[in-house]
Amino acid sequence: MVLVLFGASLILFVALFILPGDPIGTAAGSERARDPAVRAVLEKRYALDKPLPVQYVRYVSRLVRGDLGESYRQRQPVSRVLRGRFGATAELALAAILLEVIIGLAAGIIAAVFRYSFWDVAVTLTTTLAIGVPTYVGGSILQGIFAQKLGWFPRSGRAGFSSIVLPALTLASVDAALVARLMRGTMLEVLRADYVRTAMAKGLSKRTVILKHVLRNSVIPVVTYLGIAFGTLLGGALITEQIFNWDGIGLALVTAITAQDNPIIIAVVTYGVAAFVIVNLVVDIAYAYLDPRIRLE
């Protein structure tokens, strides 16, 4: 895991270094060219006058001490700039995952149990739409209808429960649709399995069979998928946070990219990779719980 993190930060470092641009060429929020004396001090402070390998070693040696450096734009420690924003993004991601699971599972189960019914067709149609429409468009439409026109939810910003509904729904839409499809597919497969037929033959009600045997076995691939989907969730957060002005790390990253605030970019991406690795670890552990065959002795 540590290796993955170092690799990610190294690739980023090189990539940001190669990109054209002049991160400290202009004064923050001004059209004015920077005073050469100020420029010289800042270049020295951020070691931008040193060759790339020296910069990287300096960065890593600070990183292991928990020092992420200083934002070029805000001249504040990166950790301070990002502190409150992790919570904001985590809140949004959790709400989205919750929605994905609830909506996705419910829709998938209904579609599988009542196969070829009206509900099944409706689920197929809605999920196709949700997967096909880009997050940016979908989010803007939700915002236009439920915030602008109907005024049911705040248009943007982060204040209270009602403000999280639309962003979470936007962020969850694609994955919820994929979860629904996956759930429907695996459940249909499991429904045809021998042990289900046996259970039915024993005279158990359909309801008991589904609840006791089918669900638990169908849900395993979905859990795997949710682990992988966490990556796309982070990507989706970039767009969602932008649409709804949700003050999380996604918005911080977008702002940092436009301002060439490299320390923030590197920190956010490194944290993103770390979160991804951890989530997948949790998923592996969850397997063991769901499927006794892979439990460690």
Binding site: E31, A33, G157
Partner: protein
């Protein structure tokens, strides 16, 4: 608070290690370069004290300038020259920077709550007219989309005062003007086209005048800005009444295609010439830049090469040795001074890395500005500055004025009165009172 408090504050900000982007306002004070450094490779700041500042007694601050400057009093408007208490420490002292103490009409309560807001309470020991408001809550919004969030917040009564996203200005005027809650003001700024005057094709005054005459400012203001801009026919804007010359740019007023074509021919700008027009993305400039490009193509037969890029890239392009053509630009004055429009943008002393990125150099112009700095009376100064503007804009067309900087705000007029915009385009908190 004594004169020493001012010396402390100014020295703190001017020191090289502070790396302050606003320290340059003090550049005219003797000893500034020793304290601040020059940025030349290998140069280090020589001093730790501001040699030009002294306090003969606690109530007298003596400032020695390195050259005569009769506008120095206006520069003291800049917050960088504020006093600080003894415990302020150096510029890196985060504890003080998050809870600064100054000498204004309000005090900070509870420090700067990063990314959330600040609370101001009235300073009852303020030396001037006391503020009316007991308390002001300022909310910090994410910079993305902030104007939109402010305006929506004002509509839902979350905020009492807000900026307006450009697209919603007509709607805001319609809603708030009948309630007397709409502020519209020309501020101390100008939007213009920066021109590279050194490299072809726009290295002759005639060519630049042809460009200006081929642009229909009124049509663009009506079409793109829905009327919410004011055509610029000078570079020194109207709020500077004693210096404002509404007719200094005779080629900025109405488009004149016959004259434009004749000037283009004499200025070495025949139809088919390729002219680049560079602008920064993300500032909402696309529509009007495109409109200007189309007019130049239609009216002068030029081949306009639109070059969008991020802002930092635009600056880099302007500074390149082989730069040519037109660049979108804007300028806001640092203090209510006419010279602050001419000197930074057009003087030979401001050539890159300064802000004269069009590289206009004219001896007579520089000479007039130097004389103006030493002028004994305001009237004499105004005459010299006006003459300098006639040279740079009227005769040489060193840059192309487009529209003055306008500001629009809304506020909750059912509750508040006395709201106006100050020089820095901030609400005049100290004069706001309940209705």
């Amino acid at each position: 608070m004594t004169a020493e408090s001012f010396i402390r504050g100014m020295t703190r900000a001017a020191k090289q290690a502070a790396a302050s982007d606003v320290a340059y306002h003090m550049a005219g004070i003797a000893g500034y370069t020793d304290l601040h450094g020059t940025g030349q490779p290998g140069s280090v700041a020589k001093a730790t004290e501001f040699s030009g500042l002294s306090a003969p007694d606690p109530h007298t601050l003596k400032v020695k300038l390195s050259a005569p400057d009769c506008e120095f009093d206006r520069k003291t408007l800049q917050p960088v020259m504020s006093p600080v208490p003894k415990n302020a420490g150096d510029a890196a002292n985060k504890a003080f920077n998050d809870a600064p103490v100054g000498n204004g009409p309000f005090k900070l309560e509870g420090g700067w709550r990063h990314d959330q807001g600040i609370t101001l309470v009235r300073n009852d020991s303020y030396f001037g007219d006391k503020a009316y408001l007991d308390k002001v809550e300022l909310t910090i919004l994410p910079s993305q989309d902030a104007a939109e969030a402010e305006y929506r917040g004002a509509q839902s009564n979350q905020f009492d005062y807000a900026r307006i996203p450009p697209a919603l200005i007509p709607q805001a005027k319609a809603t708030y003007e009948p309630k007397h809650g709409f502020i519209s003001k020309l501020s101390y700024g100008i939007n213009y086209l920066l021109v590279n005057v050194v490299n072809p094709p726009l290295n002759s005054p005639d060519a630049r005048k042809a460009i200006s005459l081929a642009i229909d400012r009124d049509a663009i203001i009506d079409g793109v800005f829905k009327g919410f801009q004011t055509k610029a026919t000078s570079i020194i804007p109207p709020p500077l009444k004693a210096y404002y010359q509404p007719t200094v740019c005779d080629v900025c007023d109405k488009p004149d295609l016959g004259r434009a074509k004749a000037l283009a021919a004499s200025g070495g700008l025949p139809p088919g010439t390729k002219v680049s027009l560079a602008f920064n993305t993300g500032g909402g400039h696309e529509a009007w830049v495109q409109a200007i490009g189309q007019e130049l193509e239609k009216n002068l037969g030029l081949k306009v090469d639109l070059q969008p890029s991020p802002f930092a890239e635009l600056l880099k392009k302007e500074k390149a040795d082989n730069a040519s053509g037109l660049f979108r630009a804007g300028w806001s004055a640092d203090y209510p001074s006419a010279e602050n429009f001419l000197f930074p943008l057009l003087s030979k002393h401001s050539l890159p890395p300064g802000d004269n990125r069009g590289r206009y150099v004219n001896e007579r112009f520089d000479d007039l500005l130097a004389q103006a700095r030493k002028a004994p009376t305001e009237g004499a100064r105004a005459n010299l500055i006006k003459e300098a503007e006639r040279q740079a804009i009227g005769t040489d067309m060193a840059l192309i004025p487009l529209w003055y900087r306008s500001q629009y705000r809304v506020f909750e007029a059912s509750k508040w009165a006395g709201v106006s915009l100050d020089f820095f385009e901030n609400p005049s908190l100290a004069t706001i009172h309940q209705k």
